[in-house]
Point group: C2
Chain length 315, copies 2
Amino acid sequence: MLAIGIDIGGMSMKLGLVNEKGEVKDTFTVVTNSGDPYEVTIKNLVHGIKELVSRNKLYPDDINGIGIGVPGAVNANTGVVDSAVNLGWYEVPLRDLIQEATGIQVRLTNDANAAALGEAKFGCKGKYQNVVMLTLGTGVGGGVIIDGKLFEGNQGKGTELGHSTLIMDGEPCNCGRKGCVEAYASATALMRQTKEEMKKNKDSLMWKLCEGDINKVNGKVPFDACKAGDPSGIKVIDNYVKYLGETILNYNNIFRPQAFVLSGGVAKQGDYLVNKLKEYCDKFYWGYKNTPVPDLVIASLGYESGIIGAASLYL
Amino acid sequence: MLAIGIDIGGMSMKLGLVNEKGEVKDTFTVVTNSGDPYEVTIKNLVHGIKELVSRNKLYPDDINGIGIGVPGAVNANTGVVDSAVNLGWYEVPLRDLIQEATGIQVRLTNDANAAALGEAKFGCKGKYQNVVMLTLGTGVGGGVIIDGKLFEGNQGKGTELGHSTLIMDGEPCNCGRKGCVEAYASATALMRQTKEEMKKNKDSLMWKLCEGDINKVNGKVPFDACKAGDPSGIKVIDNYVKYLGETILNYNNIFRPQAFVLSGGVAKQGDYLVNKLKEYCDKFYWGYKNTPVPDLVIASLGYESGIIGAASLYL
């Protein structure tokens, strides 16, 4: 079985031919220019799909379907990209345009959803049927797998797991509310928390780690300081672990998944982060003694996760 | 099509014969004595089921199944009641015991889940396939219907919608964490908030409404004071609406249901509460302009909702 997965980004669109084992057999990259009208970008995309099919000596009928992960708001029912700000796309009927041009069926989803499906199916090697994925990057993305299937909410607009309050009336969030998970547990939030602590403590090792320039702070700085025993670094990371741990506890009570999968920049901390989270969460898991405790794991599909995840819609 | 629904409570167990329209055709009540061992209670329950079948001139084969709503933690996979504190039940294999004694298949779920399913199927007359129900009583119960089916989480232990943080590190919650939805949006929390405000303001109308006795405060007092224009009452209700509104906004971003259904003591405020919630939430719904806004409605099944909801597992 073969499917095509497409990972749409602001700079490029990555296409991949993926088999039923989640192996990427061939890839094709379409460069996107932010100024291009969507018609041009889609024409290039269709060319890429046809190239991928023909150079592998395949016919459209050999492809089970084309899954597309979109960085924005998608209506899963109508196949319309409602808005993808980074692409300048608004109300683009992407599914129908690609289907008509290629003769292959197409399904769209939000990129975080696609990643969650790919990790559940292939990253975790089918070990889990119920997964919550949290992507800790510029924002906090969420994806939920229920009984092995992607759960997207009505019209595909649910699982915005970064936009539930952790602290009502807290830090302002991009969504217009205050105190959302994204405002505390994203890499952006971690950097803000690091800078705030650095301003309070001029002796912190974190100043040295960014060569005295606070603008050089990234998500790694507080972790490195914490590992080196710097009190300010420890404080920042302990707080961050609490924010993320409370988020995991919340979604555990809501979805009770078998596993949480963490991805994005902050997840590069791997076992160091996972162990701290386990230590925090183990104190607060709730339910009678037989209630299952979820596994906490780091996403494993790497740079091709977007392609594999999108293709998973048809695998 | 006929099913039996059983609503288990601390004082009594209500059994009902329900048809495919959600109509309760006959009922039978089994009184429970809290001191009884579970074997006795279950024997009485089996007697009730057999009575309901025989006096309606039916055979076990005429019953599609027996759905049971349990006030506690249920393992939906194994059919075991892990814990139902009010009944003193721990690890009771209820499903198998009833199945063996009656020859009718049995399914268990948490009582809040059962209520949600009943309201989605029959209260809302099938208008919605995706529903989040919040029960605002002593605690906050949650039930979620996805694509017309009950979503329970792994082993049936999810959708504990009262136990997600609204304000991290806030009011202590019964679950051992701090700042959960239940600690702000339950009827119990509303009464606490009312008492706190009364202690601050001895001139509040709320003192009169409870005849000068703060122990007479119930969930209706602050609503009555608010309606009468009492500044303290208005303050309590405005805050409560914010707590509940933020809860709805959170679960909207997570599940994006077509409707929220409110039940429990606080929901008796009906349209007065709904209109205030709509006013609050309308300012903060998030998503591109095409993103659906959920309906907010009050549960409509009334005192038989537990029976109808449990029977819905087989209707």
